[in-house]
Amino acid sequence: MRVNITVNGRPQQADDVWEGESLLYVLRERLGLPGSKNACEQGECGSCTVRLDGVPVCSCLVAAGQAEGREVVTVEGLADFAEERAGRGCAAGAPGACGTDPDTARRWQARPAPGSDAQLAPVQQAFIDAGAVQCGFCTPGLLVAADELLERTAEPSDADIREALSGNLCRCTGYEKILDAVRLAAARAAAPTAEQGA
């Protein structure tokens, strides 16, 4: 069957989708967006977390057909999504101009070439600065979940952070640096000028 989904602000179409196929499979294998990771396929690990109409979900548990006509944000679109939310983005632009097109996303490198203007969402920068990334497999899901927490709760308590990330497993870091990263992103959002001055 054919499935139409708006992914990271751009209308996308996938053909020959099997009826039992997950949204995660469509994103990774049909739309060329491998940022959302495939690990447990049973909603235990959170590494496939995406926003579905704004709500964080495990994309491995959403049937592709259920996402028909809906909006998905993946880690590939997180920077644009955060920028748009901050009111600096391309919200006023023409439809389709917003978001990251798949060709650009496919060319993305783990380490952008020197001089590239690759932008990160604040929560992504905080993960790097806090050393919250080790093998990196859980990172996309954690970023999407953490970003949604900070959107909802500007000054999250430690309990808020732990609960918001309780569905995302990390086997490397022991979580402490991940918690640090979320605290850092929240603190930077609360005092953006102080950070710039530092």
């Binding site: 069957m1 099997w18 009826e19 039992g20 997950s22 396929e41 049973q42 909603g43 235990e44 959170g46 977390t49 709500v55 964080p56 979900v57 495990c58 491995c60 548990l61 959403v62 049937a63 057909g65 259920q66 028909e68 979940a145 609960e163 918001a164 309780s166 569905g167 995302n168």
Partner: protein
């Protein structure tokens, strides 16, 4: 496999009548796992995601009519006052991602003895609103669970809503697992005090082939509270009474040994949870009584 996407409830009923083997799909948190792991290859998937009124609830005078697909997150956030037992249980379901998708209709459809909503539904005395093209019927929760992952639905029926009496007294939910999140219950216990009828109801999860009530424990406690005039006096609960209640609740279990826990452990833990939840709810009831008398 065919993917059926009814836009309305009537279309969904017609599709289910035409294809009784169709598997209803809402949050997908059970069904998609089975498909991902090739444990299940239904001929038809019946996606209920476009039927928006399944995600709505109505608060009436005596009951809440909870749409089958209302996500656990909404229950936690919006129905804590009316349905405290279910809201507490909803908060223990898996993770935020799962709570954003899963709902009580799916828990009932799957009818796993470990489903987190069941103890609260049993303790509050809910009714399941089931419908087919032949008509609508209300199934009392006590008659709903028929075996391991079997329920009272006919092949052409779908769950539209659950009617849950609004709390008239304190309710509690307790669950044993290895951590607070992402846990399938080793066992669970729900308790509701019903001061309006001077009764107590319970629900046990994951300690028998189906979710069950601890009827002997309920009857014992109801009689004991009545005899000692404790509903009126709001007096403290004698420890011997709480102990006996716990023992009777443990006796209502018919558990198995499995990877999550042994039968003996489950029986013991249900007894402990019954005693503790009784303590919590009774103290809360006494607090309410005292403040009512002071007012």
């Amino acid at each position: 496999m065919d993917f059926l996407r009814p836009a309305t409830w009537d279309e969904a009923l017609a599709a289910k009548a035409e294809h009784p083997s169709a598997v209803p799909l809402a949050g997908g948190t059970d069904v998609m796992v089975e498909i991902n792991f090739d444990h299940r290859r239904p001929a038809y998937l019946l996606d209920l995601g476009r039927i928006r009124d399944l995600e709505e609830w109505e608060t009436g005078e005596r009951t809440v009519r909870l749409g089958a697909s209302v996500p656990y997150t909404r229950i936690m956030e919006n129905l804590r006052a009316e349905l405290p037992g279910l809201a507490l249980a909803a908060h223990t379901v898996a993770s935020p991602q799962i709570r954003n998708r899963g709902g009580v209709g799916g828990n009932l459809g799957t009818a796993s003895p470990a489903g987190d909503a069941h103890p609260a539904l049993l303790a509050s005395g809910a009714e399941v609103e089931a419908e087919s093209v032949r008509g609508r019927r209300m199934i009392p929760i006590d008659d709903f669970y028929r075996g391991v992952k079997r329920n009272a639905l006919e092949p052409d029926e779908l769950i539209r809503a659950v009617h849950i009496p609004k709390a008239t007294g304190p309710q509690q939910f307790s669950k044993v697992g290895t951590r607070n999140a992402m846990v399938i219950a080793v066992c669970a216990f729900g308790l509701a005090l019903h001061p309006d009828t001077r009764t107590v109801r319970t629900g046990i999860g994951s300690a028998a082939p189906t979710p069950v009530r601890a009827t002997a424990a309920e009857e014992f406690l109801t009689a004991a509270l009545d005899e000692a005039g404790l509903w009126e006096s709001g007096g403290p609960l004698p420890p011997s009474l709480a102990r006996e209640f716990g023992q009777l609740a443990a006796g209502a279990c018919n558990p198995i040994d499995d990877v999550r826990g042994s039968a003996a452990y489950r029986r013991h833990a249900v007894g402990v949870m019954a005693r503790r939840t009784l303590g919590w709810t009774w103290e809360s009831y006494r607090g309410q009584e005292r403040s009512a008398q002071c007012a």
